[in-house]
Subunit: 248 residues, 2 copies
């Protein structure tokens, strides 16, 4: 069996996320598996590095699968792109080392959350930005201050959207970069991995800080509480994009 690695981008708007959950097959993973199974004549399983939620996008998802085939890398990639819907595309497809695993071997994941400040300026990107409609501008200086207590290795249970999570909720955030332009606030998250809804709950909490409804110095105690109820709301999926997965 050969092992293949591919870089996939998708507009997640009309999908129930990357991965099969329950009885829906309207997932990115399922679209890829169906076409690869048809191509090879054998059941193919595709592993994604990041299990993006319903409505979340990707520009640099890395996925991996094993298959027995004589087709070239370009032939497999072109077959996928011919039969995939217009909102999913395979950018790269290469044979990988036999033991390469897209999720277990990932060292850093980079997620970008885009907050719009001017709907009129984002006509062409309106599905990929969360347009903030608050009365007053977000205080990004306060938001940046709050990120200082979030960086590093922590138990992020307060930011975990899955109340039944029974594995470790310890993760490491390497950095959080907040950049502001006239029309947009971007928040980039770099970490070794993220819990379900974690990035979006972090964003929802940082927005409350930016609205002066939450103390930027309260992140330490929020982490210590290990309680989802203490954190802010889950920011809308549309603003989130998995930008890149890095391997060491």
């Amino acid at each position: 069996m050969k092992n293949y690695r591919m870089t996939v981008q998708y507009d997640g708007t009309r999908y129930n996320g990357w991965q099969k959950q329950g009885d829906t097959d309207n997932t990115i993973q399922n679209k890829l598996e169906t076409i690869l199974t048809r191509l090879t004549g054998e059941k193919v399983s595709v592993n994604g590095a990041g299990r993006t939620d319903a409505g979340v996008h990707a520009k640099g998802q890395v996925a991996q699968f094993r298959a027995e085939t004589d087709l070239t890398e370009a032939e497999i990639r072109d077959y996928l792109n011919r039969y995939l819907p217009d909102d999913i595309g395979v950018l790269l497809l290469k044979e990988a080392a036999p033991r390469f695993h897209s999720r277990y071997n990932a060292s850093t994941k980079y997620y970008l959350y885009r907050i719009g400040k001017n709907k009129a300026a984002h006509i062409f990107e309106r599905k990929y930005i969360y347009e903030y409609r608050g009365e007053t501008p977000l205080d990004t200086a306060a938001m940046k201050l709050a990120t200082l207590q979030l960086i590093g290795e922590h138990d992020f249970r307060s930011f975990c959207g899955n109340p039944k999570m029974n594995k470790s909720t310890v993760r490491t955030i390497y950095s959080i970069r907040i950049t502001e332009t006239e029309d947009e606030i971007d928040i980039g998250f770099f970490g070794d991995g993220f819990l379900q809804y974690m990035v979006r709950i972090l964003v929802g909490t940082l927005i409350e800080v930016g609205e002066h409804r939450r103390d930027p110095q309260s992140m330490d105690s929020l982490l210590e509480s290990r309680s989802r109820r203490m954190a802010g709301p889950t920011a809308p999926a549309c603003g989130l994009t998995l930008m890149e997965v890095r391997y060491s």
Copy 2:
């Protein structure tokens, strides 16, 4: 009456073009007029610099209207953006000189046509690019050669989509810029004005040149024929965007 000038951008996908034609009111112009009429309490007429066709987009349409109001420029702009649908946005709105007219005073219009060479790379821009599916790559050197005979003042009747056009079909194209990247061929058209479907028929004709199905040196005789039947097909609307309107 004050005279206002605004810069408007829109995703033309679901509209029947800029301007009212026949009995449809599903136009950009109509959306703007309806809101402005509601705001001012008097019938407002909006003039666009370029009458973009159904499905054509704009990043820099300039439109102008007269109204009697005490509202500030920012108030009018914000009211429009609050009630416009998500795929239309007013970027700028300023009071203009009393005699300013967005169409008659325009000196240069810049239209961009985007031809995709790799569907997978354009997931997020798929509605704004015409994805070319020909067997062999387009010969952009031949296409550039063909543009040389198109530049300048000519009777462009061969490239006019309106067979009943009874006004002058003479227009001046200042330049045509073809740029190619790995995934895309862009054709920028700069001119004093364009006839109905003219840019898209020029693109359809240049694509035939790029496919070696038409001699790049045949543009002179095509112009001289003054016959729409001699030109190429009308390229799809989705690839075309009105980028900018300049005033001298």
